[in-house]
């Protein structure tokens, strides 16, 4: 599912990761900020970046791998050009988030945690955006959307297909 043109060379990963680590080395407990910054840099956390981080922080490769895989946010592969998150938590369930999810999945032909074959969009569930008084809620590329209805879905789908 990896979109073409996003392959990164190993040496390049190492150099860019080292720069990220250097920028965060002064922090207490720097691993999460580093992983966030690495993901911002590459769009995902490349497997090859982990030994570089581990060496710099004097932790084992296993520890770095363990942390990177514990958290839902860190991707092991690039996402699509757009990321659409649909809230599936209780307050949104009470307002029909399951129907929203079904409509979006059917329109895009993908399920949760999948990326469209053309690399346009990755669809993810999210458990609460704190928009529970205007449910159901979604987040498209960091922009929040409340009271998602058929029109809002059409709008979001039009945007991801651009």
């Amino acid at each position: 599912m990896q979109p073409s043109g996003t392959k990164v060379k190993v040496a390049d990963v190492a150099a860019r990761t080292e720069a990220v680590v250097a920028a965060h080395g002064h922090l207490e407990g720097p691993l999460l900020p580093i992983l966030h910054a690495v993901q911002d840099e590459f769009g995902f956390v490349p497997q090859d970046s982990l030994p570089v981080i581990a060496k710099a922080l004097n932790i084992s490769n296993a520890e770095a791998h363990g942390v990177a895989t514990f958290y839902h946010d860190y991707r092991s592969a690039p996402a699509g050009r757009h990321v659409l998150k649909l809230c599936q938590a209780e307050a949104c369930q009470a307002m029909g988030s399951d129907k929203v999810a079904a409509m979006v999945k059917s329109a895009l032909g993908i399920g949760f945690h999948e990326t469209a074959a053309d690399g346009s969009v990755t669809l993810e569930p999210v458990y609460c955006l704190g928009l529970c008084a205007c449910a159901p809620a979604a987040m498209l590329d960091g922009e929040v959307v409340g009271r998602v209805d058929a029109d809002a879905i059409d709008g979001m789908l039009a945007e991801v297909r651009l």
Partner: protein, 518 residues
């Protein structure tokens, strides 16, 4: 005179189009050559009316809402900056019953001020608590918080003053104040609203906690699902540091305190205090066994106060107005006010800060106005994904830590999700187990394995496979999870599951396999 137009930039308002409204207002101001400025605020918390646009008039604020971008031209046409009538006119926002019925102590400024204006903050009573704290001894500050009766607003309800005293009593080279802003519970958004709408109050509360306990460094751990809160909090900390509220000499005093924002990475369990500490240290967000308590060995092994956003944000008003003032609100052992978040399928969803003691029925029906769909209320879940489902039969339960515990529930972070009669409670029970399985940190067996077995067993009940035997099995499993889990994730998942089974047995009658698999 320059007219002032207030438009919220709270995430809830943004999700309903507040930025489009602001852009439309800018265009109208430019096109009409008006002498007007736009101030972006937090939200007052009336989400059925968002985006709410307010204007300043000599008689006070006048509100309009819900305003869509397409309504903006007509507002200007009606000369709304003078507070004139318009179909969207709401009048004085303070007189809207949803607001006038509240007791806003912690949220006094939220939705009114520019969140990043220190002048606004001071003009509305900001920094008075911190200034008071600087005139007291640290132990008097701790005593004031203890006397106020403030209990942890994150859900556990532990007395805040006692936690602070434990940290204050430790001798260490370094102590920490950690603010738990990993507000992952569905139906809760009070932390988000404060961080987006009045971030200085949290900074002030943390600085007071630092003075009281001898801690010099603070962290706000904010979930990554809240990018706007992260941005506002980060900007506010920089402003506070530049103004000398944070740094080596708080407001010129000998007390040092500084803080920074840390962003979570999408793990619900990191809202549990010990896994949050592990996460801050750069580890997997796995729960730690207690003891040692974080107050004695917390972040990096140092004594650490770890409090919820609302607990810390309630401290400035307690220092400013006094412990007795705060304690005067509430009932029993639940003192002060609590920001109740009314969400889900509800007509008037939003944030309602009130003294403890209102009944659940008043909150859902009088304040919330019943369901958004207009159908009868079937159930309300109180306290997020780990809270119990209450049927309308129990709507006489007063909002109070002990009263909810007595009815096998919890108030948690005070979020209430309303469901109408189309809700399927077996499905809700199954989701509680499924969510626990997705979010379990994996450290203890009852949570890690029990949640998955729970999903499977509930699926069997749905499929009509030995329903009585399997219901007994779920009850037994819940018992094991409740008493055998290390933290509230595994330990409290039984609340939604068992309350759904006990209060809505009809939903656990056999059904078709196809339906259950959906």
């Amino acid at each position: 005179m320059t007219a002032t137009i207030y438009i919220p930039k709270d995430s809830g308002a943004l999700a309903l189009g507040a930025d489009k409204v602001a852009r439309a207002a800018e265009r109208e101001i430019a096109a009409r050559g008006l002498d007007a400025r736009i101030v972006r605020t937090g939200s007052r918390g009336m989400f059925w009316l968002e985006p709410v646009v307010e204007v300043s008039t000599p008689e006070g604020r006048v509100a309009y809402g819900p305003v869509k971008a397409g309504d903006v031209a007509s507002l200007f046409e009606a000369d709304f900056t003078a507070g004139t009538r318009h179909p969207l006119w709401l009048g004085d926002p303070e007189k809207i019953p949803f607001i006038s019925r509240q007791t806003r102590l912690t949220f006094a400024r939220c939705g009114i001020v520019d969140p990043l204006s220190l002048d606004d903050y001071k003009a509305h009573g900001g920094l008075r608590g911190l200034n008071m704290a600087l005139t007291l001894t640290p132990s008097d500050v701790v005593q004031t918080v203890t006397d106020s009766g403030l209990r942890g607003r994150g859900g556990a309800g532990f007395p805040t003053g006692i936690k602070w005293k434990t940290v204050a009593d430790q001798v260490a080279d370094r102590k920490y104040i950690v603010c738990n802003a990993d507000e992952g519970d569905s139906a809760t958004f009070a932390d988000r609203m404060i961080m987006e709408g009045d971030p200085f109050v949290l900074i002030e509360g943390m600085a007071i906690a630092g003075i009281a306990t001898g801690a010099t460094k603070g962290y706000v751990y904010i979930r990554s699902e809240y990018p706007h809160a992260v941005a506002t909090m980060t900007a506010a900390i920089e402003i506070a540091r530049a103004a000398g509220i944070l740094g080596p000499a708080i407001l010129g005093s000998p007390n040092a305190f500084d803080m920074e924002v840390r962003v979570g990475a999408g793990a619900y369990v990191c809202g549990e205090e010990t896994s949050l500490l592990n996460s801050l240290e750069g580890k997997r967000g796995v729960v730690r066994a207690k003891p040692p308590l974080p107050a004695i060995q917390g972040l990096f092994g140092r004594p650490t106060v770890i409090n919820n956003v609302i607990s810390l944000a309630s401290v400035p008003v307690i220092l400013d107005r006094g412990a007795a003032f705060y304690k005067d609100f509430g009932l029993g052992r639940s003192r002060g006010t609590i920001p109740i978040q009314i969400a889900g399928n509800v007509r008037h969803g939003g944030l309602f800060e009130a003294a403890f003691g209102m009944t659940l029925g008043e909150i859902v029906n009088d304040i919330g106005g019943g369901t958004a769909t207009g159908r009868p209320v079937k159930a309300v879940q109180v306290g997020g994904p780990l809270g119990a489902y209450f049927p309308p039969d129990l709507f006489d339960t007063p909002f109070d830590y002990e009263a909810f515990a007595a009815r096998d529930g919890l108030i948690g972070h005070a979020g209430i999700t309303v469901f109408d009669d189309s809700a399927d409670m077996l499905r809700q029970a199954r989701f509680a187990m499924e969510f626990c399985a997705i979010e379990s940190c994996g450290k203890c067996t009852p949570c890690r394995i029990g949640s998955t077995r729970g999903v499977e067993t509930i699926d069997k009940i749905a499929a009509g496979i030995q329903p009585e035997k399997n219901l007994a099995l779920v009850a037994d499993l819940c018992n094991t999870m409740k008493f055998g889990s290390l933290c509230a994730l595994g330990g409290f998942t039984p609340y939604p599951v068992m309350s759904a089974i006990n209060h809505f047995p009809q939903d656990f009658a056999p059904r078709s396999v196809a339906e259950a698999a959906e």
